[in-house]
């Protein structure tokens, strides 16, 4: 009876499946908060640190600090040069853990387990869970370098809710002259070849920009055998800013995220449904009718976007440079230098002064904090304090003199071409640099007291050495020295700048409203841009109507409240 045997076998099989099903059904929501076991990676350091506590200045006494980075990174090799130097001279061994997967999830697990490494990446989640210790008194008492370093921004670092300092911001504190050779922020980007074709015209307004693209596309309908794309954009996953952020810049506001802030009254309002936004998307709608806009722009994923850019046939887009850099790097590898991009600060009309380039603001909500599990926070702070010393700062930024950089007779640091190439090599970096660590620690930016730039990227001579012919031609045609010279010099930052670093608080109505606004943007803006010109207004009205249904007030109120807080507490007395 073959059938019968099979039936009972099937029964057993299905019983197993049934349990499996229950399992799958129930475990889905459980594992977020009930599996603390995964995060137990940090316990080992406790023993080593316990002994070192008593005598604070015994620097060579071996000491282990466990570290968690909120990003993946080139993982250093066992006998990495820089780590070895730190171990030999300061007696500190770093036990590092890098992020694998999603940060929010990882932090969630850590918090659920209540088990933290000594030095931990900054996150509002951790302050909310009381996982980090207040640092202000310890810094005052034990860390003179850190105190001096943050002197000017001391009040900004305080947590708005309780006035304690939990995080040591990793970027945004400058000394000496700040030279920015490189511009990686937002701009309207255009291929250098397009500018060359028309004799390097000056572009100031959105209309100038699209005129030039139209002319070029009419003249060259194909590039390398494929159709030319006039203008593309991106609204994929979290990378929605190329689509959403342009209007604030065109209207002469700095990057405040989803709002524009009136500098006089220090109040914010969303701009998505305002005239300044409508004007931009209407222009895109017109350009779409002329066939300039990439029809696939809103349906493409990030890889497709990069692939298009690296094919060299996208004439322009609005974006931040780091977001499309991979595509541009590929153009450089292909030796298509004319297809690489120049960023231009467009505005709506001549009366508006562009405000793309900003003075670097303090990178709040970033850097390291010391967790409640750290056995000897004082020793850790002293270690970070030592690293802020110029000697160590040079080791971390430039490397070892004679090996990673040379010093000329005027005392200027420079690198040979071989040394520069080395710096691009990931394998070499794993053995010879402490990249992730450097990203997170408090550090000096700007210039050292001897006049050298704090890192090779901002040493002007180092930058000029990497320029291509087309860059030199372009710069001399426009009479500028650096890409950042195309932008109006950044005015002094508004005290409450930038609004995007405000913590909207997890789960609050403000955060939900902000999510909804973004959702509506990526839903309606493509519709509006791709609609027939005569239908644009009706789609736009629908969009504005939908925004009206969102609790915008909660969002604006939260931002305004925080802007006011900053005004009251951050002003230098």
């Amino acid at each position: 009876m073959g059938v019968h045997v099979k039936r009972s076998a099937l029964a057993g099989l299905s019983a197993v499946f049934a349990f499996g099903l229950l399992l799958a059904g129930c475990s889905g929501k459980g594992n977020g908060e009930a599996s603390p076991s995964a995060s137990g990676t940090t316990g080992g350091s406790a023993g080593a640190s316990a002994s070192a506590g008593a005598s604070g200045n015994a620097k060579t006494e071996p000491f282990t600090i466990s570290v968690f980075y909120g990003a993946s990174g080139p993982i250093p090799t066992e006998n990495n040069k820089i780590y070895k130097k730190i171990r030999d001279e300061l007696g500190v061994t770093l036990k590092e853990e890098y992020l694998v997967g999603d940060l929010e999830q990882k932090l969630g697990v850590m918090i659920a387990g209540g088990d933290y490494p000594d030095l931990i990446t900054a996150s509002p989640k951790l302050t909310a869970a009381k996982a980090v210790i207040p640092l202000e008194d310890l810094i005052e008492q034990y860390a003179p370098n850190i105190k001096k370093h943050y002197e000017k921004v001391w009040n900004m670092m305080k947590d708005p809710s309780d006035g304690h300092i939990y995080w040591l911001p990793n970027y945004g504190v400058y000394q000496g002259n700040y030279v920015s050779t490189y511009y990686s922020g937002p701009a309207f980007w255009i291929q250098k070849g397009v500018l060359k074709e028309f004799g390097y015209p000056k572009l100031k307004t959105l209309d100038d920009y699209f005129n030039l693209i139209e002319q070029y596309k009419a003249k060259h309908p194909e590039i390398d055998g494929q159709p030319t794309i006039g203008f593309t954009t991106l609204a994929y996953d979290w990378r929605k800013f190329p689509l959403l952020n342009a209007p604030e810049h065109l209207a002469g506001y700095p990057n405040d995220g989803g709002v524009v802030v009136d500098p006089k009254t220090n109040t914010a309002q969303i701009f998505a449904d305002k005239e300044i936004a409508k004007k931009y998307y209407k222009k895109l709608n017109e350009e779409n009718a002329k066939g300039i806009i990439d029809k696939e722009a809103f349906a493409q994923n990030y890889d497709q976007y990069l692939a298009k850019i690296s094919s060299g046939r996208v004439l322009g887009m609005f974006d931040q440079h780091w977001n499309f850099q991979q595509g541009e790097d590929s153009l450089v590898t292909q030796q298509k230098f004319e297809r690489t991009y120049l960023g231009i600060p467009l505005v709506y009309d001549d009366t508006i002064r562009d405000y793309y380039l900003d003075r670097p603001a303090l990178n709040l909500q970033n850097g390291f904090g010391i967790s409640v599990d750290a056995k000897d926070p004082v020793r850790i702070l002293k270690f970070l304090d030592t690293l802020l010393d110029e000697k160590w700062s040079k080791v971390l930024n430039w490397g070892i003199e004679g090996e990673d950089y040379l010093v000329d007779d005027k005392g200027k640091f420079y690198r040979t071409p071989e040394m520069r190439n080395q710096q691009e090599d990931v394998t070499w970096k794993q053995a010879n640099r402490a990249s992730s660590f450097l990203t997170y620690v408090p550090k000096i930016e700007g210039q050292y007291s001897d006049g050298n730039a704090t890192d090779a990227g901002s040493q002007p001579d180092e930058y000029f050495a990497t320029l291509k012919d087309i860059d030199k031609e372009l710069f001399s045609a426009y009479g500028v020295k650096l890409p950042s010279d195309f932008f109006s010099p950044a005015p002094e930052n508004r005290i409450s700048y930038p609004a995007w670093s405000i913590d909207l608080i997890d789960g609050s109505p403000a955060k939900i409203a902000s999510t909804k606004l973004e959702d509506l943007g990526v839903k309606y803006l493509p519709k509006a841009i791709l609609s027939k010109p005569e239908e644009f207004d009706s789609v736009w009205d629908e969009y504005v109507k939908q925004i009206g249904k969102v609790d915008v007030k909660a969002y604006e109120d939260r931002i305004n409240e925080q802007l006011k807080y900053r005004m009251d507490n951050w002003s230098v007395k």
Binding site: S8, A11, G12, G25, K29, E104, A112, A129, Q304, I512
Partner: protein, 320 residues
């Protein structure tokens, strides 16, 4: 299953019966030991975490114990069901699930039957291997392939349709909401058809060959044999799998829709899981995510029992 229940010779006295059960348990002791780890695993990972459902009735903040939270009653559920988008999300989830299920069943069964008819075993194995390989690709890769093939720039689908003169200009497949469900369904079929067919092939292999011989003597051709022997032969497997899949009707998937979706098709692409990610996890509202998960579980269990009892009433194979 009733026919596997112990003691089919029921009218014995209790004493003797207990004795028999002990004896039987003793004789199966290895099997019982072997099932213990599984049992512990299930209790630990499926039943113990259920207490976490308490979170759904709180405004949960991580880092504090569950008893040290603010209780909010049914607020999270209220938010969930009063949100305009949620009904749409529910519609998309159920629709895509049904499409996937129907397409999945029809293609896998059809494919298994056709494959079974191939006489040359080398060709058969070759086709089978090729067809189930995509199962091992991650959805990230598959959606990448799908997006590239559907691209208006150099996507193969548009090129083929253009060359066949079926369309005049490339269609923006991923930019039109009405195509989205179909694309998801087709991607599922491409990825899973070979894999899903395996279980049916195994079922077909266990059909008694003498039945085929008998049918042949009665003059049945190939199609008749497929229709009257193969299909009825694998019917129990089909029903069991159907019941199991019904329990997953609210799991339309997450990766496909998340990775293929974009602003233009959001009205068709957003599923419950994406909604939970956006308004639960990303904004840090774990309670909302828990509430949505609870809702899904309850619906799944109801559907599972419903399908099971229907199968029972129809006198078919069933799960529980």
């Amino acid at each position: 299953m009733q026919d596997t229940v112990l003691g089919s010779d029921a009218p014995r006295r209790t004493e003797r019966r207990t004795g028999t059960i002990r004896k039987r348990m003793w004789s199966q002791r290895q099997l019982i030991w072997m099932s213990f780890p599984l049992l512990i695993y299930i209790v630990l990972f499926a039943y113990v975490p259920i207490w976490g459902w308490l979170m759904a009735f709180q405004q949960y903040r991580p880092g504090f114990s569950v008893f040290n939270q603010q209780w909010v009653g049914w607020d999270q559920f209220h938010f969930l069901f009063s949100d305009e988008g949620f009904l749409q999300v529910l519609r998309n989830t159920v629709a895509m699930s049904l499409i996937n299920m129907v397409l999945g069943f029809v293609t896998a069964i059809g494919f298994a039957i056709l494959l079974n008819e191939i006489r040359k075993s080398l060709a058969k194995r070759f086709i089978q291997t090729i067809s189930y390989l995509p199962h091992f690709l991650s959805w990230v890769i598959v959606t990448g392939i799908v997006a590239t093939s559907l691209s208006t720039e150099d996507g193969i689908v548009n090129i083929v349709l253009m060359k066949l003169h079926l369309i005049d200009s490339p269609i923006l497949w991923l930019g039109e909401g009405k195509y989205f469900w179909g694309i998801v369904g087709a991607s599922h079929v491409w990825k899973e058809v070979g894999w899903n067919a395996i279980i049916y092939l195994a079922a077909i292999a266990s059909v008694d060959p003498s039945l085929y011989e008998a049918a042949e003597i009665d003059g049945a051709n190939r199609y008749r044999k497929m229709l009257h022997i193969t299909l009825p032969g694998i019917k129990p497997v089909i029903i069991i799998l159907l019941i199991m899949n019904l329990g997953h009707i609210l799991d339309a998937g997450f990766e496909v829709q998340y990775l293929l979706g974009n602003g233009q098709v959001v009205d068709w692409s957003q599923t419950i899981d994406i909604f939970v990610l956006k308004y639960g996890l990303k904004v840090g509202n774990y309670s909302l995510a828990t509430a949505a998960g609870m809702f899904k579980t309850v619906v799944s269990i109801v559907l599972l029992f419903l399908a099971n009892s229907i199968a029972k009433r129809l006198g078919e194979e069933r799960l529980i």
